[in-house]
Symmetry: C2
Subunit: 240 residues, 2 copies
């Protein structure tokens, strides 16, 4: 398997009510990309949120009021940094509320249903091209214990967000020990360097992926409840 | 920027004392890859550890004894799962001790100095090719709050493991809010689908990357101490 990560260039500024799939199709074509079966279209949360009306005026409460509205549970807090669980179950800085690549006085919120967004974009782009596609919606998340942000999948359609290799064998015929791979997160991360936060490239096409197993949405990536070993931070400022 | 992720096929079983760079060069050539300036050679911890003599007999204490020896600090524990900080500062399952893709009765430990491993492989492959290369050594880590493993960088030479975009502007001319990107982790993750745990492909070449900024080792990715909001789990079994 050999992958190509191709930037989708020339996307216009996306505004509420815009038909994002149509804009993506036009930009894909003008980038010289001819979509093929199994291509994965990766698109940032930012333009999905803008198109879906999830760009909002900051208002009197400031960004913090929006962070509070988007937060189901505060996991850690220190100074201006709030690590919060969103209603989707994602744990990330500021519950996904972000002011970069947004006009002054506005912030974006995460899409209401990023898996649904991915499914809709997939359906529209498949109808336009006749190709079987997959779509991943990304955001950039920090990690405990590691500096820097990485692109992760918050929405996924048409491919398995998780690939379960349990029961398969390694190259020597022994069972694999740890073997559930977050494929959608790896594809999202692969697109990160191509999309670049500063470069205004909100989408990319990943070509060459052959994924085994049934499609699985990004919601399957959420690990909370009994499986969550870090439901709150023991050393952050008092949780509210 | 357009990336290609090319698998390095035909690597033989790596044994202690093998010259890993020489084996990689031969496999790169037999895979039909002609290395170019700025190519990133990505190689799994598993073969680096084997070549460096970090494959050890399990012995009487079992794998658990090796996990304990490799652990500087237990961060969380539940049942058989130990999430531990290694002496490098990585926080991962079993302190990086792993039995997959290893002969029966053995486990691998993480390389003593994965950044040093990356530097040595880089120097040897550059000497053999006359090209300017970068090298990333990877392992697969789990994440709190997200299911599945992703490939991450534990060693890095010749490229910035972190790219600091603070002070740069977004496409609209506004300063970027969150803007330190874990580039080495994104490149490691990009290689994950190509390498595949079950497929015996322990290396890949990433072509097309243009990274800005001075080289920075993977040790720069470590976030611990005062910056660590999750120094221990509040809900795991009692820490030892």
């Amino acid at each position: 398997m050999r992958l190509e990560i191709i930037p989708v260039l020339g996307m216009p500024e996306v505004r509420p009510g815009h038909d994002l799939s149509r804009l993506l199709m036009a930009a894909v074509r003008s980038s010289g990309i001819h979509l093929e079966d199994h291509d994965v279209v990766v698109v940032t949360q930012k333009v999905v949120s803008k198109a879906e009306g999830r760009m909002v005026p900051v208002g009197e409460g400031g960004k913090a009021a929006w962070v509070e509205r988007e937060t189901v549970r505060v996991v850690a807090r220190r100074g201006d940094l709030v690590i919060a669980q969103t209603r989707h179950g994602f744990v990330c800085a500021n519950a996904g509320v972000d002011a970069s690549n947004v006009p002054d006085g506005f912030v974006t919120l995460l899409p209401e249903d990023p898996d649904g967004s991915a499914r809709r974009i997939k359906a529209a782009m498949e109808a336009a091209t006749g190709r079987e596609l997959a779509v991943i919606v990304t955001d950039t998340f920090g990690r405990p214990w590691r500096h820097g942000l990485v692109n992760v999948a918050i929405g996924c359609a048409g491919l398995p967000a998780l690939v379960d290799l349990r029961g398969t064998q390694d190259a020597g015929g022994r069972p694999l020990e740890v073997s559930v791979v977050a494929l959608a997160d790896e594809i999202a991360a692969a697109s990160g360097p191509v999309m670049g936060k500063a470069e205004g490239v909100p989408a990319a096409v990943v070509r060459g992926l052959r994924a085994e197993g049934p499609p699985l949405p990004a919601s399957a990536l959420v690990r909370l409840g009994d499986e969550d070993l870090f439901p709150y931070s023991p050393v952050s400022e008092p949780l509210q």
